[in-house]
């Protein structure tokens, strides 16, 4: 069992308590922790009076609109509700919606605009890794705050970004553990779209599986282009790979658009979940909403949240969302929950810091906790990632997931994968004394990327 990931080890606990302390401290006097030099360069200093502007940086057109529009909707809902509750620090929240149109340079431009022209207190946005990468320098330079709600490949830990989605060890590895231990899988197909998230995730998984004693002969890694729609040959390959007399599973990091044809092909070839289960990391309720789910029943997905989760808080939020969009067909998914958590943690942090000043809020965020919709508490750790439960769900006829397994405890994110040679010694920790996004615990020094 992968216990090392499930238990919050002592060091983290220590840092967490430090985090709370530090956060509390910062909460008291804000002016002090903003060195004047920074104040000068912090072009993005936000006004301390009047409505608090919140940037929403999600593609409303272009290829990514499919995934990102719901995130915009959920943010508008959260802001509206917060305002009903009297806003933050008695100041109303004002959403600033822009459309980066699935165009990466435009993401950077819009980020710049939100920070330097609209002077927003925080930005909720991005989906693809590339969009995050393109805005990252902007946020670091203008010292803004980005809350990034999507599960990603890790290997990053910026002071100005709060990663409310899952790091690989909060999704991929528990999923593989489940297949290994609960389903008894002996042979692995790592099928992904050819970009960074699948590449990295698969590298981590490969390393992990090898460590668990699987030979290269039992691991097949394969990549297809974006929006790949003719899966006949690939699926045939998978089927014959799965006919070597060992239980085989597909670990899918296939990107949104290519999934529908992929599952349709599986279904038509009569590959049932009972023969070769597919566990997906990028297929959620949103994606299933566009699919005829009959052939998918029994296939798996690993997330930190499912709409079907049976908690009062979840039921309430989901209902509120359907009401807000007045459309019963709308679904709620993991990144939306991430925004829900991120937003609430940010609100608490602002109230704790009693200011919207970016430096103050960035420090105040650490240690703030909020209930997950899937139960237990999400805490913002010093590495700017959340503690999350990991759920394995099976696709049901109705397009919902049915949780079949769940990590016993919360999983602490490891943005720097211990299974990759280049990052095995790295940790991120934004509390003093480290205050460093990539700290080499062996060399005991910070590799670039530290507090400006």
């Amino acid at each position: 069992m992968s216990s090392e990931k499930l238990i919050i080890d002592r060091r983290t606990l220590g840092r967490l308590s430090m985090g709370l302390a530090a956060a509390a401290a910062t909460g008291i006097d804000v002016g002090a922790i903003v060195p004047p030099a920074k104040a000068a360069t912090a072009i993005a200093a936000t006004p301390e009076t009047g409505p608090i502007k919140v940037g929403i940086l999600h593609s409303l057109s272009g290829t990514m609109a499919i995934s990102e529009v719901p995130l915009k909707d959920v943010m508008l809902m959260l802001i509206a509700e917060q305002n009903k509750r009297g806003g933050v620090m008695g100041r109303p929240l004002e959403p600033v919606v822009v459309d980066p149109a699935s165009n990466w340079p435009l993401f950077a431009e819009k980020a710049k605009q939100l920070l330097s022209v609209d002077k927003v207190a925080a930005v909720f946005g991005c989906w693809t890794s590339v969009s995050r990468k393109s805005v990252l320098p902007v946020f670091e330079h203008l010292n803004g705050i980005l809350l990034y709600p999507v599960q990603y490949e890790g290997q990053e830990c910026s002071r100005n970004v709060f990663y409310t989605g899952a790091a690989p060890n909060q999704q991929a590895i528990p999923a593989v553990d489940y297949l290994m231990n609960q389903v008894g899988v002996k042979r692995w197909v790592l099928e992904g779209t050819d970009y960074v998230y699948p590449r990295t995730t698969n590298k981590i998984l490969e390393a992990y599986l090898k460590k668990k004693g699987f030979g290269s002969a039992d691991i097949m890694i394969n990549y297809t282009p974006f929006g790949y729609s003719d899966w006949q040959a690939e699926v045939a390959k998978i089927k014959s790979f799965g006919s070597a007399g060992k239980k085989t599973a597909v670990v899918s990091t296939i990107n949104g658009d290519a999934n529908v044809p992929f599952y349709k092909e599986l279904g038509n070839r009569g590959i049932k979940a009972t023969d070769i289960p597919v566990i997906a990391f990028s297929v959620g309720e949103q994606e299933l909403a566009g699919i005829d789910t009959k052939p998918l029943v029994g296939h798996l997905a690993a997330w930190n949240y499912f709409e079907s989760v049976d908690t009062p808080a979840n039921k309430e939020v989901v209902a509120a969302f359907k009401k807000f969009t007045n459309n019963d067909k709308r679904v709620f998914n993991d990144p939306m929950e991430a925004h829900y958590i991120g937003f609430n943690i940010w609100v608490k942090a602002v109230e704790k810091a009693a200011t919207t000043n970016h430096d103050a809020v960035i420090d105040a965020m650490i240690g703030v906790a909020h209930p997950n919709l899937s139960g237990d508490y999400a805490t913002m750790m010093p590495n700017h990632h959340l503690t999350k439960p990991v759920l394995i769900g099976e696709v049901q006829e109705n397009g919902q997931f049915n949780t079949v397994w769940q990590t016993p405890g919360l999983v602490v994110a490891q943005p720097w994968s211990p299974y990759l040679p280049e990052s095995k010694n790295l940790i991120g920790d934004w509390l003093p004394p480290m205050s460093c996004g990539s700290y080499d615990v062996v060399a005991g020094k910070c590799l670039g990327n530290h507090k400006a």
Binding site: S61, V97, W104, E109, Q113, S134
Partner: protein, 374 residues
């Protein structure tokens, strides 16, 4: 003469405008309402790069009647060449503090630098590559295409195929150009920190200058006898053959020059937007760039610059003002322009005849098409 007025007007707009913006950004204190925020400088620089691309397209489309739907490919190639230099410039300041390997290579587990990355640590080499790589590609592509008399729509389509193929190629992580994420997180250029205001302003001014120079170059080309032949080719290609000219070699020259101009635009674009990745090759981008030219007015050069500026200004404004429905506006604009302003915006102000030839050329293509229907 009109030509010179056009020259002066354009140059003073581009250079003067840039200078004023720069001054209002650097000299006027941030508190004053007259202060121009860095954001404006940044997008101004970006637009100027787009203007260079538009200029390059107008040179081949407006004057040689070659409708290229793949010019963004050269733009992006130039960008990649510059991006590679900027990556090397980061040096050990990357996330993994690897002195030689860019982060994304460490990231996909490469152990040493691939050969085609050698030399990019030198600025001059990168500059050379900015010109050489796209130039060579354009030359080879054009040499094949024009020699075998691929023209009109066929040419447009294969230029699309070219940029599409390049996009897919650069998407592949194995190519060693950062795959889908491309290159980003640049630190500085020639030692100037990219995120410093003065650097941004400087780059913007450089871009304005380059734009002006390419404008003058293009201008000079089309007013030379070479340019007259070019127009002759556009208007009645067979006739030029019977006069003893080889249209293919004329097209090839202007095509290559145009590609190089576009590439330089791309090279200036990357440090200003801070990222270069395969989506720059997307077929749509090339088409959009052609539309800037159409909106501004084809066959005028300054029209191209104007078009690029206006359309992108509109885009920036609309994506914030009406993010939900801005596509209606921009799409509608393209339709209206092609329907009611066949000569673009500048067509409204100039009394010049429309570039008939292009019309003839297209009429010819259409004729061939109609005939082909047999």
């Amino acid at each position: 003469m009109r030509l010179d007025r056009a020259n002066i007007a354009t140059l003073s707009c581009v250079l003067g405008g840039a200078a004023v913006l720069a001054a209002m950004n650097l000299l006027i204190p941030a508190v004053s309402p007259l202060h121009v925020p860095d954001f404006v400088i940044a997008i101004a620089g970006k637009y100027l790069c787009y203007a260079i691309l538009a200029l390059a397209i107008d040179l081949v489309w407006g004057y040689a009647g070659i409708l290229t739907l793949g010019h963004a490919a050269f733009f992006a190639l130039g960008g990649y060449a510059m991006g590679m230099y900027l990556m090397r410039e980061i040096g050990a300041r990357g996330v993994y503090a690897n002195p030689t390997l860019p982060d994304f290579m460490v990231f996909i587990g490469w152990t040493h630098l691939p050969w085609y990355w050698y030399g990019f640590s030198h600025f001059w080499f990168a500059l050379a590559m900015v010109v050489v790589v796209p130039g060579t590609l354009a030359f080879v592509f054009g040499w094949f295409a024009f020699r075998s008399r691929v023209s009109g729509v066929y040419l447009s389509i294969i230029t699309q195929a070219l940029t599409y193929a390049l996009m897919l190629a650069f998407f592949r992580n194995d190519m060693g150009f950062g795959g889908n994420n491309g290159m980003t997180d640049f630190k500085d250029v020639l030692g100037f920190p990219l995120n410093r205001e003065s650097t941004e302003t400087g780059l913007m001014l450089v871009t304005a200058t380059v734009l002006s120079l390419s404008f003058l170059l293009a201008r000079a080309m089309i007013h030379s006898r070479f340019g007259k032949v070019l127009i002759a080719v556009r208007d009645a290609e067979p006739r030029t053959r019977f006069l003893g000219y080889r249209p293919e070699s004329y097209k090839l020259v202007v095509w290559t020059v145009s590609a190089i101009i576009a590439a330089i635009g791309g090279a200036l674009y990357v440090p200003q937007v801070g990222i270069i990745n395969p989506s720059e090759f997307a077929p749509g981008n090339s088409i959009e760039a052609v539309i800037w030219v159409a909106v501004g007015g084809r066959g005028t050069l300054y029209g191209a610059i104007l078009g690029a500026m206006l359309v992108n200004l509109g885009k920036t404004w609309l994506t914030s003002a009406l993010p939900e429905i801005w596509l209606f506006a921009i799409g509608g604009l393209f339709i209206v322009v092609t329907l009611f302003l066949p000569r673009g915006i500048t067509g409204l102000f100039t009394t010049r005849q429309p570039p008939k030839g292009s019309k003839q050329a297209s009429a010819a293509t259409e004729a061939s098409m109609r005939e082909a229907a047999r």
